[in-house]
């Protein structure tokens, strides 16, 4: 047996003799691996930023929203019922394991201020909002409990609203007309960016829920309750206690559908990570297909190469190469092609992911596992698709091979 390094040298010499063809053959694997690395990088980056955003909402958050109502057979979607009240919220606040509750009243309406106008979502909430949503104040202050009790005409603006209504000036102390009612701006919120669903969370105005109910919606029903559990371990028990309490308060007997829904962000986070896993599987499938195509390209070229180099193979056999030596040389040529292609692909993929991060401001990170897997896979592709041509080469009849024109 001639040594592996010696065979590797023979294989490399043969590949270098056909430089441009070797590079073109690699191209399939290069593009496949590069595409895989870039998509995995972007996918991982997106997953990380979604996870960050979900944590930003407050991981221990439990949402209570009104359920569906059935009016003469016509059913609204969730949130259609108007059965949830501020009193429900006060009752929930007494549940052990609950640290804070804030009602949520949302109205989409037009704002006018400073000679500008802008339509946005007005959210009525309690002062506990900053804690429940883990969302801080950038300037000024949040509204207080006494302002809530008195339904004061005060508002806190999200950054998008600040930019639209008060470009380049300080909004604190200014007046905003909300549905023609003048509100005093007492503070602004820190920028929060997009939500996991792609909504601009900063395009909002916050005010006491009492003010929103009295001056904007004119009712008593609220759009939802944001409940904060003391820690992640209490989320499940808080959720079931809320369900029990509200069923009792709303007079719902067993067997009847609830007129509310209780959700926690853990579920959403799990759903998001499940989506990410499915996406990962999908990417793996795409990767498998692209590597398969690259591998077929290698097999094709190796077959051409075996035919073209028939005389060379005959010569090597005449010079005393064993069948196994010929087989190994061609197999190693295929593996060098595929692994070399994989390495170049990883390099291009990492560069591509980095430039997407820089130029498109899209978060991306290349997991080491993906790089290792891509290289291992491309080597396996070389072995798998190189074997048949290599065996063909080793099985050539040397006499015919030497006469081959």
């Amino acid at each position: 047996m001639i040594t592996l390094t010696q065979t590797l040298r023979l294989a490399l010499q043969a590949l270098v003799r056909n430089r441009s063809r070797s590079l073109l053959t690699m191209l399939g694997v290069v593009i496949g691996v590069a595409a895989v690395i870039v998509t995995v990088a972007i996918g991982t980056g997106a997953k990380t930023s979604v996870a960050n955003q979900i944590n930003g909402l407050g991981s221990n958050l439990v949402m209570v929203i009104p359920g569906s109502v059935n009016t003469s057979g016509v059913r609204t979607g969730n949130g259609g019922a108007s059965t949830l009240t501020v009193q429900d919220g006060l009752a929930i606040a007494k549940i052990p394991g609950v640290s804070a509750v804030s009602p949520q009243v949302t109205v989409r309406t037009q704002l006018v201020a400073n000679g500008n106008n802008w339509q946005t979502t007005v959210t009525g909430a309690a002062p506990t909002f900053t804690y429940v949503r883990s969302w801080g104040v950038a300037s000024g202050r949040f509204f207080t409990q006494s302002e809530t009790d008195s339904a004061a005409k005060v508002a806190v603006l999200g950054q998008t609203v600040v930019n639209q209504l008060f470009p380049g000036s300080d909004p604190v102390g200014q007046t905003v007309l909300v549905k023609s009612v003048p509100f005093t701006v007492v503070g602004t919120l820190t920028a929060k960016g997009q939500s996991g669903a792609g909504q601009d969370q900063d395009d909002t105005v916050l005010m006491p829920y009492t003010s929103a109910l009295e001056r904007l919606t004119g009712g008593t029903s609220i759009g939802g309750l944001m409940v904060s559990a003391v820690d992640a371990q209490h989320i499940d028990s808080v959720q079931s206690q809320i369900t029990g309490l509200l069923e009792q308060r709303h007079g719902i007997v067993a067997g009847q559908p609830d007129d509310f829904q209780v959700r926690n962000l853990q579920d959403i986070a799990q759903a998001a990570s499940a989506t990410a896993s499915i996406l990962g599987l999908l990417l793996a499938a795409v990767a498998a297909v692209s590597l398969l195509v690259g591998g077929i390209g290698i097999m094709n070229i190796m077959l051409v190469s075996v035919t073209e180099r028939t005389r060379e193979i005959g010569l090597r056999v005449a010079l005393g190469a064993r069948g196994a030596a010929i087989l190994r040389q061609f197999l190693i040529e295929a593996v060098v092609l595929s692994t070399g292609g994989g390495a170049i692909g990883v390099l291009l993929g990492v560069l591509g992911a980095a430039s997407i991060a820089v130029f498109a401001h899209w978060p991306s990170s290349v997991p080491v596992v993906a790089v290792v897997l891509a290289l291992a896979f491309s080597a396996a592709v070389g072995v798998f698709f190189g074997f048949w041509p290599a065996r063909k080469a080793a099985a050539l009849d040397p006499i015919r091979a030497l006469r081959f024109e």
């Binding site: 001639i2 010696q6 023979l10 010499q13 270098v16 003799r17 005389r311 060379e312 005959g314 010569l315 090597r316 056999v317 005449a318 010079l319 005393g320 190469a321 064993r322 069948g323 196994a324 030596a325 040397p398 006499i399 030497l402």
Partner: protein
């Protein structure tokens, strides 16, 4: 010392589907001793190429015995034959069969890789072989930078680099002009006379065969004549 080549009753039959079998060799007896320079002649289809392939361990006879340097070949498997080829045989072909885009010295080193000669010794031995064929200064040239005669001399250097017991040359001058043919044949003769190398040459050109010292003629799968070359007659 055992003869290099000793064949007895060598037959080779190529079976043809649905037709008559082709009998390439019909019971050939021949002995080649160490240090001989034998030319094998004969028209196309006379069996000389088949004979050469069997002698060169690239093919096996249908029946008959072949002892190579005392080895009984019947019991050897393909890997043993490959190893024997790499150590004990040197091949020269009509079409040179040098690896393209590979320097002369690397071409000459190739048989030593398969004979598992340590890398450190290869370069030296290859250089010696190139020197023996008068091409030491062309070591770094690639085949397409060499003339046909020079390429064939590189191929001869490749065939002698492992100090084989037998050099087999298959129409080595077939692709060369007269002057280059003379050079190549003079080289074979010198290797035979000065280094005592055993050479078996297949050709159909009498001028080429005249350089050998013994002439074996094939016809229809049989040896029809086997005689020493009388030099004066052919000059």
């Amino acid at each position: 010392m055992a003869p290099v080549v000793q064949v007895q009753g060598l037959r080779k039959v190529y079976p043809l589907e649905g037709g008559e079998d082709v009998v390439a060799l019909r019971g050939v007896d021949l002995t080649i001793d160490d240090g001989e320079f034998v030319a094998v002649m004969g028209p196309s289809g006379s069996g000389k190429s088949t004979f050469m392939h069997i002698v060169g361990l690239l093919d096996r006879p249908t029946s008959g015995t072949y002892r190579f340097a005392g080895h009984d070949l019947g019991s050897l498997g393909p890997d043993d034959l490959a190893d024997l080829r790499s150590r004990a045989l040197g091949f020269v072909f009509q079409a040179y069969n040098l690896l393209p885009r590979t320097t002369a010295i690397e071409n000459v080193e190739l048989p030593m890789i398969y004979a598992r000669v340590p890398a450190a010794r290869r370069r030296e031995a290859a250089m010696e072989a190139l020197d023996a064929v008068g091409l030491a200064k062309y070591a770094q040239h690639q085949p397409n930078q060499l003339s046909g005669g020079q390429q064939q001399r590189v191929a001869i250097a490749r065939s002698i680099v492992n100090q084989p017991q037998l050099i087999l040359a298959d129409e080595p001058t077939g692709a060369l002009d007269t002057a280059s043919s003379e050079d190549v044949m003079a080289l074979f003769r010198r290797l035979n006379e000065e280094r005592g190398m055993t050479v078996m040459l297949v050709t159909h050109e009498p001028d080429v065969a005249a350089h050998a010292r013994r002439l074996v003629t094939f016809r229809d799968g049989n040896i029809v004549s086997d005689e020493p070359v009388r030099e004066k007659e052919l000059v």
